[in-house]
């Protein structure tokens, strides 16, 4: 009997160790996605603002990270009343998630989700937002707004979790939340100078370094293989599930790239490779919610639709005169919503197309729409408050000269020295 206890204790320790290695690896991959966000966005803006967008992503990590440590984690994963919890810091109490990793490591992987969510917003605000105002938005976003949504979706007592809402790695909680917040913030902030003409037509403001943007896209793609498989939160007992998640994640991204490539070729007569990058990311965003419950063929179909949706989304958002320099709203907002709803259609057990009826579909729709509305309204109010107090926009002169030389006194590329 005593021997058995020792063996069980050892097994327990081995399981925890294996799961810790797995989650730590994935958490580091997710953290590295920030590099992807930074240089993808830097490549898609003009060279005079390249350092400012890097600075925004740094602000996401340093301000957002501390905010998520002090307030965010407790609000998201403390003892929840279904909508919110009021703990501080990283609690040692059992979170009710059946974790085999320490709460501290769980905090670190969730930190990656929180800062990814706000980094989505940073792209849509590129080239014109004041940095200190942005830092305040980041602090509010990572300490309160994102954690509330994470509480609904992933806290074991969250109201959406209790309804059986399936958002495996965050199409709704991370991407819809971030993408719709980007929409609201970009509306309040207004378009860049020279983006729209007086007659309403749009000018192209091309990114200054497309290979850099593409590299950022590759890094995000790479990091996604931590984002989705890492959301298993344990390796032991999940070896089959991890395989399914990896394959679905890849298939959806590839299908998204293919459909965008074909769509842009037939719509514009030329392949738009910057849109293909966005199409790949759109496929990734869309499969993030359902990568644990769909078949590979469904993953491909979801990716194909995501790739077309992102093209239509970018054009439609431009028509509304909402200036989104990197396409964050179309990639993350629109496809986050689509991906979450797609779970209700394509889930191989409960999905509508597989004879599971409409109950999951209804839950998915309720969940993602609530998150989208919450995100839009709260971000809109906070941006309006910032606008009417400390201001959100750099001065006209600074915007024309470029934020890099105006705010930092540097240029990204010092040609003559």
């Amino acid at each position: 009997m005593e021997e058995l206890t020792i063996i069980t204790a050892k097994n327990f320790e081995i399981v925890n160790s294996i799961d810790t290695v797995w989650v730590a690896l994935c958490a580091a991959l997710i953290f590295f996605m920030e590099a992807g966000f930074a240089i993808l966005e830097a490549g898609f803006v003009r060279s005079k603002n390249a350092m400012s967008i890097i600075a925004k992503v740094i602000i996401d990590i340093i301000f957002g990270g501390i905010a998520f440590f002090i307030f965010g984690f407790g609000i998201a994963y403390g003892s929840s009343n279904g909508w919110i919890s009021f703990d501080l810091g990283i609690t040692d109490a059992d979170l009710g998630l059946g974790l085999t990793i320490s709460n501290k490591l769980f905090w670190f992987i969730q930190l990656g989700f929180a800062i990814a969510c706000i980094s989505i917003v940073s792209g849509a605000l590129a080239e014109r937002m004041k940095l200190w105002s942005y830092a305040l938005l980041v602090i509010i976003f990572c300490s309160i707004m994102y954690p509330i949504v994470a509480n609904w979706v992933w806290n074991p007592n969250g109201w959406l979790a209790l309804r059986g809402f399936n958002d495996f790695a965050g199409s709704a909680a991370v991407h819809t939340m971030g993408g719709i917040a980007a929409l609201a913030a970009a509306i309040v902030l207004g378009p860049r100078l020279g983006k729209y003409n007086k007659n309403g037509s749009a000018n192209i403001i091309p990114g200054h370094n497309l290979p850099l943007a593409a590299t950022g896209g590759f890094i995000l793609w790479f990091g996604w293989f931590g984002f989705n498989p890492g959301s298993t939160l344990a390796a032991v007992g999940n070896w089959e599930l991890i395989g399914i998640v990896v394959v679905n994640t890849f298939l959806a991204s590839a299908a998204g790239g293919i459909s965008t490539m074909i769509y842009t070729y037939f719509s514009y007569g030329k392949i738009d490779i910057t849109m293909v990058i966005n199409g790949i990311l759109a496929g990734l965003v869309a499969i993030t919610a359902g990568c644990n419950v769909v078949d590979p063929l469904s993953a491909i179909i979801i990716g194909v639709f995501a790739g077309v949706l992102v093209d239509l989304g970018v054009i439609y958002i431009d028509k509304l005169k909402i200036d989104d320099p990197v396409g964050a709203i179309a990639v993350h907002g629109i496809n986050g919503i689509f991906g979450t709803i797609a779970v209700g259609l394509f889930a191989s057990e409960d999905g509508l197309f597989f004879g599971g009826g409409v109950s999951l579909l209804v839950t998915q729709c309720i969940g993602v729409l609530t998150i989208a509305i919450f995100s839009f309204v709260v971000t809109f109010i906070i941006m309006k408050l910032l606008k009417n107090t400390i201001g959100v926009r750099v001065s006209r002169e600074d915007e024309i000269a470029g934020i890099d030389s105006a705010s930092f006194g540097v240029k990204s590329y010092s040609t003559y020295e």
Binding site: K48, I400, S405, V410, Y416
Partner: protein, 113 residues
């Protein structure tokens, strides 16, 4: 035949290009330039050290036009390229000896437009 070298703000390039196209002088060469004029430049700060000799980014447009097109071309560059502020740039005008269109070997005014 005259050569116009205009140093303008980068943000004005699109306006000037559109303006020149509207008076049917579409041929131009654009060079990314840096330099300093009379206006104060921004102060460069690198790891705490200030440097007020920083160069401003500007764009240089080069157009070669016939004598009768000169004033129209200069007027468009002035109208579209200036804010009426220090730092708008400068325009230089030179005489041009001859011009040759390489594809057809045509010379003179016929070669430039």
């Amino acid at each position: 035949m005259k050569k116009i070298e205009a140093i303008i703000r980068p943000s004005k390039l699109r306006d000037v290009q559109e303006g020149l196209r509207s008076i049917d002088i579409p041929c131009l060469t654009v060079i990314s330039a840096s330099g300093s004029g009379l206006q104060k430049s921004y102060t460069k700060i690198y790891r705490g050290t200030k440097d007020s000799l920083a160069l401003q980014n500007r764009i240089m447009i080069i157009c070669v036009v016939s004598d009768e097109n000169l004033e129209r071309c200069v007027d468009i560059i002035l109208d579209c390229g200036s804010n009426g502020e220090v730092g708008d740039g400068k325009i230089f005008i030179y005489n041009v000896e001859d011009a040759i269109r390489m594809s057809t070997r045509v010379r003179g005014d016929n070669a430039i437009h």
